[in-house]
Amino acid sequence: MMRRRLALCLLIAGAVGAGLAARAGAGEFSRGGTFILPAWDARGAALGGAATILIRDERSAYWNPANLVFLTSARITAGTMEPVPGLNDRYSILCAGIALFEKRSGADTTSAARMGLAAPPGLPADTTGRRDSSLALALASSHDTTLIRKTWGFAVSATHLGLNLAQGSSWNESTIGLSAAFAPTRRTALGITVRMMKSSTGAADADSWGAAFDAGVIEQVTYHVWLAVTAKNILSHVRYPQRTDTLDVSWSLAFAYRGLFDRVSLECDMMLKYGVLNRLLTGVEIAVVPDLVFLLAGSDIRMSQGPRMIPSFGLTTAYRFAEISLAESFDPENAFGRQTRVSMSFLF
């Protein structure tokens, strides 16, 4: 257990250090670029973007590909939004995922006991006499994502952004992503997403194409506490007719507490960019009716470029094989104002 925790601390320290060293002499203003995704699904947006741990399905292809191993069934999600309300623009996503190869329970019973995972009071002991809450509770529910059930997770995702420039020329950006995740244990998973990108525009010599890689890790520290680290655009290459370029790398360090009062989950993400703390994301999910109705709220605090806080709220309803999410974000900048996102998911 000590070796695992030491490894975890080293992982976190390495991530933070890499993030801080990402750009020497970094500043506070963005350099912009093509293929900057304005959003993903409504549920993650309602959490203020603090979805590195709390989103545990095919939508993790964007938030944290390591979480694909939590999928309990094949799922597909489609969503849409207007990045800038009032202008002629639209952004849409489509993603599908599946997890394979059920993990065997025997070995993990012993490992869970060795970890000394604290069991909530009142739980019955298992057949070995130990209070292994993680298995006892998680395996009891076939849809519970407390523990990692599968060894491999895969997802395919696609996005499309369309807008018109000031004088009417079109600008379109499309991406296709392939994601894979591997869980060596029930408490640790790693994932990677490869995105192929293509833009087509009405302007001369403006089309481009490229690729980018995202990576993620998730680790269960205790029954309720999870840690995760993700890196977006850790490798990227974009080619234009006259030049080549890369995309900005961003690192996220996430902490989540799941199952407060058995209904509330909280997450806090620190996003590092240009070598400084760029955003502080917080999200809370409340199961109003367990597995049926969820209220979500979050905030995206932009630490640089004139600090501002973007609150968001949302609602998710799930029934049998369908889930609908609605999110509203309120950006104090007049440029973006109120953004509405809708997404629908289907289970197979």
């Binding site: 963005s30 093509t34 900057i36 800038v84 952004l161 370029d245 900048e333 007049n334």
Partner: protein, 213 residues
């Protein structure tokens, strides 16, 4: 036979008169007009063109206004050396030049060419694709105290804040394609948010632009 002799005599007399310079003489070509340099750009389509003509030999003045493929000719009688005519411009650049004519219609050489750009009130002139450093030209109907241009990425991150103070009706806000830290921005789409502050309050406009280099 006496008739033939009379006609012949008359022709001879006329020929002699022409040789001696007694026949009516041909008028001299009028001198070219000279147009005064007007102010540009302007916010009204109606503009007064002033200048001078060769009053001694000029009967009428023809003013030509060319904008793109559109050409309009304004004709006026000339009574003095200085003239003053009102013409209508089209939005954008306009070329104006003139030709004087005498009583017999003999044209002068072409005058100098003057250029006037007419920008409609509340015009916003900037490229939708910036391929090199350029500017946001903002024309306001009301006198504005300040105009700012903020550029954002599509995920809401600020790229640069540009500002020009008034009071004025014409603002030219330059952008050197660098962000607020002085680094070159990348190719891609950006949201330009233009804020105009005048006596009526704050007006916010949003446009998508792109940088392509």
């Amino acid at each position: 036979m006496p008739t033939k002799r009379i006609v012949g005599a008359l022709l001879s007399i006329l020929s002699l008169a022409a040789v001696l310079g007694l026949a009516p003489s041909r008028a001299a070509q009028p001198g070219p007009p000279v147009l005064d340099e007007p102010a540009s750009p302007v916010l009204d389509p109606s503009v007064v063109i002033t200048g001078t003509v060769d009053a001694a030999h000029t009967d009428s003045l023809f003013l030509y206004r060319v904008s793109g493929t559109d050409t309009v000719v304004y004709r006026s009688k000339v009574a003095a050396a200085a003239f003053r005519d009102t013409i209508l411009l089209l939005a954008g650049p306009n070329e104006i030049w003139a030709v004087a004519r005498d009583t017999s219609g003999e044209p002068s050489a072409r005058s100098n060419t003057v250029f006037i750009t007419y920008n409609k009130r509340n015009a916003r002139i900037f490229p939708e694709v910036f391929r090199a450093p350029g500017s946001f030209d903002i024309f306001t109907e009301q006198t504005a105290y300040e105009v700012t241009v903020d550029l954002f990425t599509l995920d809401g991150e600020r790229v640069v804040h540009l500002r020009q103070a008034g009071p004025s009706n014409v603002f030219r806000i330059a952008w050197n394609l660098k962000n607020g830290d002085g680094n070159n921005v990348r190719n891609g789409p950006y949201l330009a948010m233009i804020k105009i502050t005048d006596s009526r309050g704050l007006t916010v406009e949003k446009h998508f632009i792109a940088v392509v280099r």
